[in-house]
């Protein structure tokens, strides 16, 4: 009883020791390689889960299995139209072959140095072929694809897969920005002037048109009024002619008398001779 208890306890203690130093878990976010006295064992990395190794002689090195980020420092780059721009890019990458990765670059730091060298020079080469405006706008995707493709090839031998090189910021150096501000200002001033003069143009057109219409309206009215007056005159003339034509003699006589009344009403000196019919009874 006593003996078996002691053996049992010892077995448990030894078993636990062996187990804890032999078993290891790899997290879902990790991958691992086993190294036996400095030499990697096997030709495949270990995925997530429970694994075993020989205690003491074998050690485990863990690597991140996730997509990692490499945020490069902004860099001044010259475009083909001799303009300068600060390009800020980031690279998404991943350790796909931990064995190679371990032997070639060993750490994330080492990988960053490689990425920096390669991505930077690829960006420089690609951006140098385009003009600034192409980089900023419609060629952006193409450039990024090209850099991604080339970087991927060049970094494959290090056990690194480049998933995406993406241009984050494209900024202009301060002095170029100033000249752009100057141009923007000039453009806006031009536009403001244009708006104002267009307003004045439209205003003048509307006013002139209104003046013209007013003149036409008034002239039309004048014309119509004269036509109406003429009609009145003509009708009156006809009425007079119809009536007076019945006795031109009498009209002549009465009209003459009327004219005398009107013509000789004041300050007139009459010299009458006795022969005047008016004085025939005076003799």
């Amino acid at each position: 009883m006593k003996k078996t208890t002691i053996i049992f306890a010892a077995a448990i203690i030894i078993g636990a020791f062996v187990l804890t130093s032999a078993a290891f878990t790899v997290d879902q976010t990790q991958q691992a390689i086993v190294i036996q006295l400095g030499r990697p064992i096997g030709d495949k990395a270990l995925g997530p889960g429970l694994h075993f190794k020989l205690p003491v002689v074998q050690t485990v090195v863990f690597f991140d299995a996730r997509i990692l980020d490499f945020d490069a420092k902004p860099e001044e780059i010259t475009t083909t139209d001799k303009k300068y721009m600060n390009v800020d890019s980031y690279t998404k990458w991943k350790i796909i072959d931990p064995l190679t990765f371990y032997t070639k670059v060993r750490t994330i730091q080492g990988a960053r140095a490689r990425l920096d060298d390669i991505v930077r020079s690829q960006l420089r080469v690609a951006l140098g072929r385009y003009t600034l405006i192409e980089v900023v706008s419609h060629k952006r995707q193409e450039i990024m694809d090209m850099v991604t493709e080339r970087s991927k090839e060049l970094l494959m031998p290090y056990g690194i897969e480049v998933l995406d090189v993406r241009i984050k910021r494209t900024d202009l150096p301060a002095e170029n920005a100033r000249s752009i501000y100057g141009r923007m200002k000039a453009e806006r001033e031009r536009q403001a002037k244009q708006y104002r003069s267009e307003g004045q143009e439209a205003s003048a057109k509307i006013k002139a048109n209104a003046d013209k219409e007013r003149a036409i309206i008034l002239a039309d009215a004048g014309k119509q009024a004269e036509i109406i007056r003429g009609e009145g005159d003509a009708q009156a003339t006809k009425v007079y002619a119809d009536a007076l034509g019945q006795s031109p003699d009498f009209y002549e006589f009465t009209r003459s008398l009327e004219a005398y009344r009107q013509g000789f009403d004041k300050n007139t000196r009459f010299i009458l001779t006795p022969k005047s019919p008016f004085l025939k009874h005076l003799q």
């Binding site: 878990t25 790899v26 990790q30 997530p48 889960g49 429970l50 990692l68 980020d69 980031y90 900023v136 952006r140 995406d164 241009i167 984050k168 910021r169 494209t170 900024d171 202009l172 501000y181 200002k185 806006r188 001033e189 536009q191 708006y195 104002r196 439209a202 205003s203 003048a204 509307i206 006013k207 209104a210 007013r214 309206i217 008034l218 009215a221 119509q224 009024a225 007056r229 009145g232 005159d233 009708q235 009425v239 009536a243 006795s247 009498f250 009465t254 008398l257 009327e258 009107q262 013509g263 000789f264 009403d265 004041k266 300050n267 007139t268 009459f270 009458l272 001779t273 022969k275 019919p277």
Partner: protein, 356 residues
Amino acid sequence: MNWDWDKLQKQQQGRPGGKPPSFDDFQEQFDKLKRFKLPGWKLVLPILVLLWIASGFYIVEPDEVGVVKQFGKFNRVTTAGPNYHIPYPVESVLTPKVTQIRRVEFGFRSVGRPLTQSFQQGVSREVKEESLMLTGDENIVSVQFIVQYLIKDAEHYLFNVNDPEQTLAHAGEAAMREVIGNGKIDDALTTGKQEIQVQTRELMQRILDNYQTGLSVVAVQMQNVHPPDEVIEAFKDVASAREDKSRFINEAEAYQRDILPKARGEASRIVNAGLAYKEAKVRRSEGDAARFLAVLTEYNKAKDITRERLYLETMEALLSNPDTEKLVMSDDALKQSVPYLPLDKQPRRVAPKEAQ
């Protein structure tokens, strides 16, 4: 000295464990311990095991999912409610909040407000190096925007990318700059905002899906979009110039609307004056004609006497005027007198009547 020693021995015997214990004592103590502890173990061990088993219970809140790893390897996803996993060290569980909508600010940072609260146009600080962007027509515009996102796939979110939030921030900047770079400054400043938001959201989602971040972009919302401070005055002046333009046009239309009705009124006055003249003239002539014809009828009945009467009445009227100078001369006297017309002596007092 002996007495001292005895005294000391007595004192030490009084203290527990003061005397170095003999082997027999130890054996006795050990046996006691064995006897004492064994029933204890029988009780404590099951309790410990039960506690260990109980530690596998966990609760997933309604806004969370449970992601269970078995020896570090992803095993299953559990939904809201009480759940169980095999206790440490076999299984472990992570519970990310998947329904919570998070937000990131680009180009500005809110001041004195928790990040989870929805945006209010309030106190914020512009971050120029993030907000200033080049447009496709080589202008610079300041764009401030927020991105709302949530975790759509907890497994991808937890295991695929080493910093999903940082990745989202990078993708947001890259996407917005790409979209702004493809457009013109006026699109960003005026009518193109909606389109830019949609395109940026789509592009961001594409980038994030490409990395399998497990994040879903709910919305991209542009906040404050304005020209850089250096040129903002010129832009404002364009806006006021546009206002001036419509003001000029409105003023001209007001002028037009003022003078044309007046002219139409005036025209109506002119035409009516013509009509009045016509009607008056015609009626006058009709009246005159009627009067003449009436007189003529009577004249035809007694021609001579009427003629004589009319003549005499006229002469009478003329000569009865006291201002009229009358002079009766014989023909002979008239022949002998020298006609003399004193034009200067008789200024005319009245304007002459128009001759018939």
